[in-house]
Amino acid sequence: MDAKQSKKLDFSPILVPLLSIVVALAFGGILIFIQGINPLLAYRVLFTTAFGSFDGIAITLAKATPLILSGLAVAICLRAGLFNIGAQGQLISGALASAWAGYTFVGLPALVHIPLALIFGAFFGALVALVAAVLKAYRGVHEVITTIMLNSIVIALSDYLTSNPFKEPDQPLTRTPKIQDSAQMPDLLGLPLGFFLAIGLSITLWWIMRNTTTGFSIETIGRNKNAGWYAGISVKKTIMLSMLIGGAVAGVAGAVETLSIIGRFEPAFNAGLGFDGITVALLGRANPLGVIPAAILIGGMRASGSTVQFEAGVAPELVDLLLAMILFFVTAPLLARFFKNRKENVAMTSGWSN
């Protein structure tokens, strides 16, 4: 982060995402209208379901929890100039590892078991990222390629493990046994504990990026790798570190899902959380705090998709469509350039060229 932001207020980090959402909703509205449905009704149902009641908000925040974390995993790498497409694989690895720790260890108090299972998740998430990090730092292999490949590897591997050594015995489903009660993450104030963990991690990472030498190193490498090298920052170390942080956070995302929502590992249950993280990170401008509102918005849309179908008759794919359009507009450089009067070299634009 800059030592101090220039005193002139710059609204573009908020304006561009907001505008993307508005434009996406407008286009979505046209499509809903073509189906002969009143788009305002559909959007009202979408909004009231997600944010209209305490229960709705609780569900929205529960849905947002893994998205905050997976968004954070992508965002922190973007700050270092790395495009981590592999949050999905890291998340699955973390989900499976925490499930294993959750059902294998018996007789631990919850105060030990839950952190232990979370650490398992973080460690195995980071382990997947480590492969991509080493290849990038020491061999120059582009992280987009390796993380995509690793997604497939992890998904196949987790399928194998869940249907063989880690399979719940004596029943037909491909899934692990249920975690012990001592590993079950409780709710706090009617909200999943994981939500507070995600908020805490966001604030911590935001603070690290802004106030520590590590944060400055990551930011510098992301903005100008050559200047970082000139300034004596180890490019390799920084790439490794930011990828490992990203992997660990994605692993925690998977662990939180396992320990508070699903209660075991089932291959299809985490589908898409890591990929939604990319949308969250971009919508949140790769800012560790920005991912929170972005994740809540997307979590809300995910939470209310089926209600919209039920009450307004709109196909549930509407949510995917809206998300895709938001992602499209938020990354559309035209829109961004329009609102940026100064050339702001945000880390996320350098991911492809190096």
Partner: protein
């Protein structure tokens, strides 16, 4: 023979910098005209004007007797002008054939007819005697071959006037010889060639006529027969000293920087610093004079530990600097004003204040352990903006929004505001306005007087002559001579720079 190109009274200035002043030149059919001059003499601007990339302020350019609309590249191409840029305009993953036909593909039923294209490529290569492998992929080819493809690409469009912008800058000596042979053959076929270079040997070897530019003005036109390399060198660098710097007598003391038998390779893995040894004393400025591309960049980067050394040592205050560790070089007392401030010297999206601590953000007082001390960063920024006359409303403005001169002042402020042992300044005033040049020069002299060993690398001979206490001439990766600046003679240095024995 018919006149192909007539440049009449062309002038062009960029702001207060005059790039071309009332230049008139002609190129005839089958003639090789070499455009010779130092960096910044206005060669590139002139040929860009011919190609329509730059719009002259006044004067006319005629091709084949037709006055060209200025700034119209398409018209220039249509009337038979081809340009081979220094940076190749080729698609690296495509084959030679595909690159040659790109933009004007032979088609059959709306689909590219690759068999026909290959035939055309082979015919073209045969016609001009430029051998290339039509099926090779560009990125697999050596630079000289890729350049050949670039030339063929121009020739395919029936070029009458071929412009080459420093074509030999990227070539090995062998590849250069081959290129010169190619140019001679093209000239025999009636192609007019405008060839930019600052290498005297090439000019003498290949040119029919030579036009020398200096400071944007045409100094004269001559031929290899009427001239000699030393006469050309004199024409090229013989200008009066423009910048006079007030400085006292140097009081050199102990050796602070010592380079022993250094060997370094460039980006193409060719050895560009060859067994070089050099010593710089406390309290002196040692200037490295040389034509660009003779190993200066690699020398500087190796001293600052940014580029791997093949062998040899860099010793600062008696302490060896480890290989490839810029941080260690910095901590040992090496300040580095890098040649490319946008690439290495600054993070343009960071504030001035952050840039002013770029290489010591994690040291006291700018950090306490792991935590950055943002107040210190801010107050350091404010005081350096003031002290180094950086023209900005405050220290929180992004560095990228500053002018070239002020950007450079940010780099200079950072590098010269710390403990001063060894200062390596590479092209410290390139692209910087006159006022900032003077300021930066005075800062370098102040660093010298404060007891630093200053190594100044500059492509501007004037800068070296006015600042340096001793002058080392570099040519082809070796120090060929060292003078005390009082004994230094511009013409002798010019000849040595050009690779001639004195």
């Amino acid at each position: 023979m018919k006149t192909l190109l007539e440049i009449e009274g062309v002038s062009k200035s960029f702001g207060s910098v005059i790039a071309n002043e009332d230049i008139s030149l002609t190129v005839r059919e089958g003639e090789i005209l070499a455009l010779l001059g130092e960096n910044g003499a206005g060669k590139s601007t002139l040929v860009k004007a011919v190609f329509g990339l730059v719009k002259p302020d006044s004067g006319t350019i005629k091709i084949n007797g037709t006055v060209m609309e200025s700034g119209d590249t398409a018209a220039a191409i249509a009337s038979g002008v081809g340009m081979v840029h220094q940076h190749f305009q080729l698609v690296p993953v495509m084959s030679v054939t595909e690159n040659l036909i790109l933009g004007d593909e032979p088609k059959r039923f709306g689909v590219v007819n690759i068999t026909q294209a290959r035939k055309e490529a082979l015919a073209l290569s045969e016609k001009y005697g430029l051998e290339v492998d039509a099926d090779a992929i560009i990125e697999d080819l050596p630079v000289g071959m890729a350049q050949r493809v670039e030339i063929l690409k121009a020739l395919r469009r029936d070029v009458k006037l071929l412009i080459l912008d420093e074509p030999t800058a990227v070539l090995t000596p062998q590849e250069t010889d081959e290129l010169l042979e190619v140019l001679r053959n093209l000239a025999k076929r009636g192609v007019g060639i405008l060839f930019i270079t600052h290498k005297l040997r090439e000019v003498m070897a290949v040119a029919d006529r030579i036009a020398v530019l200096r400071g944007g003005k045409l100094m004269g036109t001559t031929t290899p027969k009427e001239s000699s390399e030393s006469k050309l060198a004199q024409m090229m660098v013989g200008r009066e000293v423009v910048l006079r710097v007030e400085k006292s007598q140097a009081k050199p003391k102990e050796v602070l920087l010592s380079i022993k038998n250094l060997r370094v390779s460039d980006d193409r893995k060719l050895e560009s610093v060859k067994d070089l040894s050099l010593e710089v004393h406390a309290g002196e400025i040692l200037g490295i004079a040389g034509v660009e591309g003779n190993g200066q960049r690699e020398l500087v980067e190796a001293i600052c530990s940014m580029r791997s050394r093949l062998s040899g040592e860099v010793i600062v205050k008696g302490q060896g600097i480890p290989n490839l560790n810029p941080r260690a070089a910095h901590l040992a007392g090496v300040s580095h004003i890098p040649e490319d401030r946008e690439k290495h010297g600054l993070v343009t999206s960071y504030s001035i204040a952050d840039n002013l601590v770029l290489n010591r953000f994690d040291q006291a007082p700018f950090a306490r352990g792991w935590i950055r001390n943002l107040e210190e960063v801010a107050s350091n920024g404010e005081s350096l903006v003031e002290k180094f006359d950086i023209r900005a409303p405050d220290a929180y403005l992004s560095a990228g929004s500053l002018s070239g001169g002020n950007k450079q002042k940010v780099v200079v402020a950072r590098e010269l505001s710390q403990q001063l042992d060894v200062v390596v300044a590479a092209q410290p005033t390139r692209g910087v306005d006159v006022g900032s040049i003077e300021f930066i020069h005075n800062q370098l002299i102040a660093a010298r007087d404060a007891g630093a060993a200053v190594l100044l690398v500059s492509a501007e001979l004037d800068e070296i002559l006015s600042l340096a206490d001793r002058i080392a001439v570099i040519s082809n990766g070796k120090i060929v001579a060292i003078f005390n600046s009082k004994e230094a003679d511009r013409n002798t240095i010019g000849r040595l720079m050009a690779g001639l024995a004195s």
